[in-house]
């Protein structure tokens, strides 16, 4: 299998592969460089592993837990996005048990805030919605929480609707790692955690926001959107991310 040229941010540019690891994913043999993760190898070889917080071009946080896989010899499930390959590794990316856990995690996300797909700007272009369908979800069997979440439309071009936020922190990471502004961060903790701009002020008043819109486009759901879109009209464009990462690395 051909090694990829994509380099994860946060890792040093790779020296010529001194050694190659061979591993099995779902019974098939693959080879990879030692600094590559299970997800890297799976992605290169078109093996689907579900995930929501991960986005190619951003650092990995291992927070959504959808990419957990079974690795022979480990009694714990391991997140594919941050687990490095090793020689002789045997990975199972799907099993009835994993499928059940993944469905439950998606269900929990749906119960956490108010995800009303039918009236969402991202309907039809939403990673959460798509993932739910992909994983065979037809309903949520945990009760919904119905929190009162606000919508901040103070920015002249963008809107944040906390009803749709799944706290993946892609916006936090893209703003910090790519744009370098660190406008976004997470406040509070646990079920009350929330993304905020600056000192939890209205986004439109932010002194640090450059209005670049990267956060909007990496957002997996309709939480961040551009103004002027009706239901189902907000399509995200993410092609800039691998490009910016590549250009940045070539400058170093």
């Amino acid at each position: 299998m051909s090694p990829t040229n994509v380099v994860k941010p946060g890792t040093k540019p790779v020296q010529p592969a001194s050694n190659v690891k061979t591993l099995q994913i779902d019974g098939k043999d693959f080879s990879a460089r030692p600094e590559e993760t299970i997800l890297d190898v799976a992605r290169q070889n078109k093996i689907f592993i579900p995930r929501l917080c991960e986005l190619e071009g951003l650092s990995d946080v291992g927070a959504c837990r959808l990419c957990l896989v079974e690795v022979k010899g480990s009694n714990k499930l391991l997140p594919a996005c941050v687990t490095r390959v090793y020689e002789g590794m045997e990975v199972t990316t799907n099993s009835p048990r994993l499928a059940a856990y993944r469905r439950m995690i998606i269900e929990l996300l749906f119960t956490e805030r108010n995800h009303i797909c039918s009236v969402c700007v991202s309907n039809g272009h939403c990673d959460l919605q798509w993932m739910a369908q992909k994983l065979g979800l037809t309903h949520v069997h945990f009760p919904y929480r119905y929190p009162k979440a606000n919508v901040d439309a103070s920015h002249e071009r963008f809107v944040i609707d906390h009803n749709r936020c799944i706290l993946c922190t892609r916006c936090v990471r893209v703003c910090d790692e790519i744009e370098g502004a660190h406008v976004w961060d997470v406040m509070g903790r646990g079920i009350d955690a929330k993304v905020v701009t600056d000192l939890n002020e209205a986004w439109g008043n932010s002194e640090t926001c450059t209005s670049c819109g990267k956060c909007v486009h990496v957002c997996p759901t309709g939480a961040l959107s551009e103004k002027g879109h009706a239901v189902a009209e907000m399509e995200k464009r993410r092609h800039f991310l691998p490009y910016l990462t590549m250009m940045r690395e070539s400058q170093e």
């Binding site: 910090d176 502004a181 660190h182 406008v183 976004w184 961060d185 997470v186 406040m187 509070g188 903790r189 905020v196 701009t197 600056d198 000192l199 939890n200 002194e207 640090t208």
Partner: protein, 168 residues
């Protein structure tokens, strides 16, 4: 740009900022000193307001949103001023088993405030603690800065009425 790079000035002339400055100096004005600095602000002023967060964040070159995220992550920090008196009811396991919930009930009935709230007259703040480590004295309550052990709803009421009569 230049406003950002130049040395931030304390929000007020208050002498207590000197304490905050001293802490930041001791920690080399590095971003890693954020929590320690916030401790100093909280100790000096009793809470962290927006201007304090802004000053500390600028001085330590920490993004504003990160400073806010840190200040709201830790329960020890508060963004609002506390009442004249504080009453901390310990909700550690030992205290819970030995009747801390009844103490909270009594507080709520008498003062009509929930944990984390302050009476409308600003006299008493009710707080809860996860564990004071005074489990041998359960249930424990901290009146202002004084730990009291084996508190009953009755003794709690007596203490509260003292606060109300003397100073409010």
């Amino acid at each position: 740009m230049s406003a950002y790079v130049s040395k931030p000035q304390p929000p007020t002339q208050d002498k207590r900022w000197k304490l905050v400055d001293a802490t930041m100096r001791r920690l080399g004005h590095q971003s890693r000193g954020l929590i320690e600095t916030l401790h100093t602000v909280q100790e000096a002023f009793g809470y962290l307001d927006e201007s304090a967060l802004r000053y500390v964040a600028m001085s330590l070159r920490v993004p504003l949103s990160r400073a806010y995220g840190v200040a709201t992550f830790y329960h020890f920090f508060t963004l609002k001023p506390a009442g004249k008196h504080t009453c901390v009811v310990c909700l550690g396991t030992a205290c819970y088993i030995k009747g801390a919930p009844q103490l909270l009930d009594a507080m709520q009935k008498d003062l009509d405030i929930k944990p984390g709230e302050t009476t409308p007259d600003g006299n008493v703040s009710l707080l809860t603690a996860r564990c004071l480590g005074s489990c041998g004295l359960a249930p424990a309550v901290v009146y202002d800065n004084e730990v009291a052990g084996k508190v009953s709803p009755q003794s709690l009421r007596e203490h509260l009425s003292k606060w109300n009569h003397h100073e409010s």
